[in-house]
Symmetry: C2
Subunit: 273 residues, 2 copies
């Protein structure tokens, strides 16, 4: 099995796409044809995956949406389905784990063995040893929260540490120390292209997950310009709600595909400028 | 139903104890009598809970140990059992959640509705709006990671921000802004009593969860002196492995009780000095 970063590079090449579809299954927003279906969560995710798999470099299931509805078994099935049916696509579990080493080992088992994810999102606050159990797992990797796009993202991330914001220190540590232990990416929201550019300058060719495109109102042209790596790639640009809930009619999968295709094409055009 | 902090005060009074038993069920360490039992995880936790409930102010199930073994149904049963059988004990889910607002709402439902926890541990890195969905839930609360006791805890938490470490800024924001929105505690490891004292001075009577006593080698006398609030209480001092795995023989529950009683008595003596 290739390592996580090689898997991602292959996915960029195979799809010629930096789009990621985030799987945030919210029963209140399911298409009407699936409401009341006991297997709605798996079926909804499977339809979205099948409709968009050739347009994306990655799928990103969001753990919270499964956990709040007791749907870990559906999450397991969605993950296995993606790995088996679309082996060229990166499977990135968005669970934002972070705990002391002995506990982090259990989270690594959960993400990589139980859910078969190539990579998992991680919170850096607890430091190096909280990430090591993930990094030491061959062929797998982490995406580390750096600068997030939510309104309070700057509350601590933008605190000034020796003349630079905290998130810049996170970016640098990930790009140097943590990447020397295992395979790392960073998470930087799409709302502030200036900060994304700063992170890219610090992080070299470390891949960057950019959530917040689509419903969250991220700046796509600014993002593509600021976040590209030395080869014009380097990003996993994630859209969730705008794709998932493009229609609640029986055409929901087609509508999701159309929205994903539109976003992929927009990213392609912007990165070819 | 009383709020989380009143629930905790009542628990301190009813038990005359600041001890918390952490439930970190690791199948590799189960007593031999339970190995091979399909319901071992629930049975092990129930035996530990029954053996120690009168000695503690709180139980703290650690999510990762259930998640790595596909045991969310057992976690649900353990949580319901504690709430129904020992209603005076605080139920604190240790899951270290942290995500943007709309996703955090799903984590709040998971912790408070699905698992019926009074409180959940939270990572502050994503800022105020990532915590608000938890704070806005009446009768519930959060314990926010501040200074953790693991080897890399200082990597970012001790970064100097305007002359004070980052964790001091977290403590202050929790004690002022976040406590004005909802009910908050802090998490400060037992390894560095000087830092615990600093946090206590910043945080007034905000309750502090102190993990890392017992197997993790925390300093109990230093902790009790440094962390007490104005009424000589104020802490939830958690021991996990030292209690859970005091014996792997058929006497495991009695051995857990003996270890918990010893630790409770030690805390009592130290806080009466």
């Amino acid at each position: 099995m290739p390592g996580m970063i090689q898997q991602l590079r292959d996915a960029w090449d195979a799809s010629d796409s930096m789009l990621c579809v985030g799987l945030d299954p919210d029963p209140d927003q399911y298409p009407r044809v699936l409401r009341g279906d006991a297997d709605a969560t798996f079926r909804f995710c499977k339809e979205i995956v099948d409709a968009t798999a050739d347009l994306v470099c990655a799928f990103k299931p969001q753990f919270a949406f499964f956990a709040s509805q007791r749907a870990e078994p559906a999450l397991e099935r969605v993950c296995r389905y993606i790995r088996e049916t679309y082996p060229h696509v990166l499977l990135l579990l968005d669970a934002k784990r972070g705990d002391i080493g002995s506990t982090a080992e259990h989270y690594a088992r959960e993400a990589f063995d139980r859910y078969a994810a190539h990579a998992v999102t991680i919170n850096p606050y607890m430091g190096t040893d909280s990430v090591e159990p993930f990094l030491r797992r061959a062929d797998h990797g982490v995406f580390v929260l750096c600068r997030t796009s939510n309104p309070g993202g700057g509350d601590f991330q933008n605190q000034d540490v020796g003349g630079r914001p905290l998130y810049a220190h996170v970016a640098q540590r990930v790009a140097t120390e943590w990447s020397a232990i295992g395979e790392c990416g960073l998470v930087v929201g799409g709302t502030y292209p200036g900060e994304l550019k700063e992170v890219r300058a610090l992080a070299g060719d470390v891949p960057i997950l950019v959530p917040g495109i689509g419903a969250q109102g991220g700046d796509l042209p600014g993002t593509v310009e600021a976040g590209a790596d030395s080869r014009g790639r380097g990003m996993v640009i994630s859209s969730s709600r705008a794709v998932l809930y493009a229609s609640d009619g029986p055409d929901f999968a087609d509508a999701a595909r159309a929205e994903a295709e539109r976003t992929r094409d927009q990213i392609r055009e912007l990165s070819n400028r």
